[in-house]
Symmetry: C4
Subunit: 249 residues, 4 copies
């Protein structure tokens, strides 16, 4: 695969992933959304099917990593590091693009995030914090615990991805990406409770930058003090998974 | 594929899609339905599995587009325009047929949409607006924002569909339609919040015509002032996806 | 396939189907169940994955029809009627066996269906009607409308099943039964609201007979006045689907 | 497969299974989790996708049994007993490892399981019992009924697993594990109501040992009086399934 194809594939794929992922967070948390308050099952399947949409689309161009933690885990496993920067650059650009697309999709909902302009009867009319649409926010702020959660959750993503390729027939039948997307649904359902499962540095950092600059009414903090955890945790977890994979398989 | 096969396939497939899609909206919103108020996850999976049912059924006859935005995206990509009218005609007829089948399936529920005839204790006894069973209704009425939402959501449907065919093994194993149907679930979960995701002109226009003429008690407005948006938005989004696909892949 | 294999396959497969299907209704409706009041999405996926479990298990022996409406639709399509009685007999025996297994699985819950023996704080202590665990109960009792609902919902099951076999690769990759089970999830989500979607004569009749004789405390009526509709509707719908399939494909 | 590969595969696979399974129970039941009170559908899919993650990862090394009841059912069917101890040992070590990983993932949530330290407004501030994160707790304590429930639910797991291998194409396309994981979702939805569906002796016993020794605040009882049922029930159910399979197929 050429650098150009890899870059374009990762930009498009990651943009789709973040459009779906940030989108489902907007759908569940913003007022005047039909999916308002529809719960964790919607969040988890929304992110998982974002992986499905983005990774199948990117697959023919770049293989569809969409996540520096996955790219890192593969590099640790294979020892091939020369394309890593292209992957990560594409993922970063794509994540920011996806966050902007989510903003445009929910533009009217973001504009309505003000006090007392409710058009639906009976809804609360206080603005809601909007960072959770773009980036992760821990339930309990505890840097060590939050970091450990992200490390374990990311290793639980990358180790299976590395191993799935060994299952006979899975790649040939084209269902590999489907399985990975259901794995991501599972990680959300099971391991997302404490931190909101970044498990992907660009998924968190790119949209956080976008959130910082977007003119959203009452958008609240972009919480840069937390931003290093969903970058460091997934990178450590991805590298760890590569090492475990090399040792065990 | 002959014109006859295409027409019959698209009629049957789109009718099944709308039967399931309008059906799940009826199931969740009408009184005296076992699925009453069962939430957005039910809506999204209901529409997605409607795609699964309709597209697998239509596939051997017409390939199962079921959506003029998909047909348009494929035409923009391939440059073959001569069968487009057969596809769209079949989709339109099928969408109206499906809406009528949904009406018949929920006939008793529609007839009970009157004040004070509740047979279940504790249910509200005001009629509910019925247009949402047939066609989309935006949460916030803002033509530009609604149009942008439909353009992005439809491009997020059509671009992946065009790309999915490039994944090795996916077509041969027959799981391509399954992936598309889960993509549609994802679009519903993530991008359906603002407008209810038409992402398909005939899906919205056909049932809106049927709603206009059906003798449903207290059916409420058919809201023709909004009707152009779920037609124009998906067509623009589908064409845009075809152009992006041609440029990137 | 020998008559013995067909019979054994249909008994085992239909027993598993009804164990899961009646089981999920018990899980959602009976007191002192962990899944109490968990909603329509649980009901629909429970029945669908019951099809997955039962039909994949029965497939090597009998092909896994598990439903006289499916057997009838296939017979109308192929013109082969000589094995129909073996299929239906196995389905009938299996459905009753599955209902008994569900009763045993939820034995303690059924025994606790009495006034004022709640072991969980805050739960209502009135007995609940138990027929809904075993057989279908319409939301609005209207024989013609109920019959039409069952006809349409069953045709929406059988016509796709007949057509799915034409999709290249679906059978060879072994995913055909998965698709059918997701189709059944979709029918539940979308078309189950009015009558609880029997879409299978033995699924309703077998367990209704079992319900009539089981010594469940406060079990309520077995409602034999309604019993003909979930038999006649699915048979008409299955035959109709066979005719449409022959005409269109 | 060498004993070493089997052991490593079962340790890793079962650890992932329990990380996801115990994780989703933590996610739904602990305070300060984003998935708090998100219901039975989340529990059931979380466990099922834990099977998907663990079994696909273990498959190339050990075949991915992850459950002594499955190993036993296969041994009864094939008559090959010499590797059983390696499988079960790996499953046991893996289950304990997974429980520890879940504890680390939800460390801050477990530490916050005390009276009156709520950081989220409006949440209850009484500690919750924590055994349900690690092991099963019946809704109604009735040893015979609980045992019967576990026997039936485990037979409904192992009999289909044995039969699934006979479906043409399912193994070759690599989708066999996906089907088994959806089967586990179905067992949870349909048969998990009375006892919380251990259906796996090490899944219950390993984490119960871990729970006994972990320093969780207000962790409540480890309930050793019940511990034999989720061991005996699944073993009986698995053996029964092997016998039925040998007789019927």
């Amino acid at each position: 695969m050429s650098n150009g194809d890899i870059f374009v594939g990762e930009v498009i794929g990651t943009a789709i992933l973040i459009l779906f992922g940030a989108g489902v967070c907007a759908a569940v948390t913003l007022r005047y959304s039909k999916a308002r308050a529809s719960g964790w099952v919607v969040i988890s399947f929304g992110w998982g099917f974002g992986v499905l949409a983005g990774a199948y689309t990117a697959a023919p161009l770049s293989g569809g990593h969409l996540n520096p933690a996955v790219t890192l885990g593969i590099a640790v496993d294979t020892g091939e590091w020369d394309k890593v920067w292209v992957y990560v650059l594409g993922q970063f650009v794509g994540a920011m693009l996806g966050a902007v697309l989510c903003y445009l999709t929910y533009f009217a909902q973001f504009q309505a995030n003000v006090r007392g302009t409710g058009t639906t009867e009976g809804t609360a009319d206080e603005p809601v914090p909007t960072l959770g649409v773009f980036s992760t926010v821990p339930e309990i702020r505890n840097p060590v615990a939050n970091l450990v959660t992200e490390i374990i959750a990311t290793a639980a993503l990358v180790l299976p991805i590395l191993a799935f390729g060994l299952t006979e027939g899975l790649g040939e039948s084209g269902t590999l990406v489907l399985i990975v997307s259901l794995l991501v649904v599972g990680i959300g359902l099971s391991l997302g409770g404490p931190t909101g499962y970044a498990i992907n540095p660009t998924r968190d950092l790119g949209p956080r930058i976008v959130h910082t600059f977007l003119p959203i009414p009452n958008k609240g903090t972009s919480d840069w003090g937390y931003a290093w955890i969903p970058v460091a945790g997934p990178l450590i977890g991805g590298a760890l998974a590569g090492l475990v994979y090399n040792a065990a398989f």
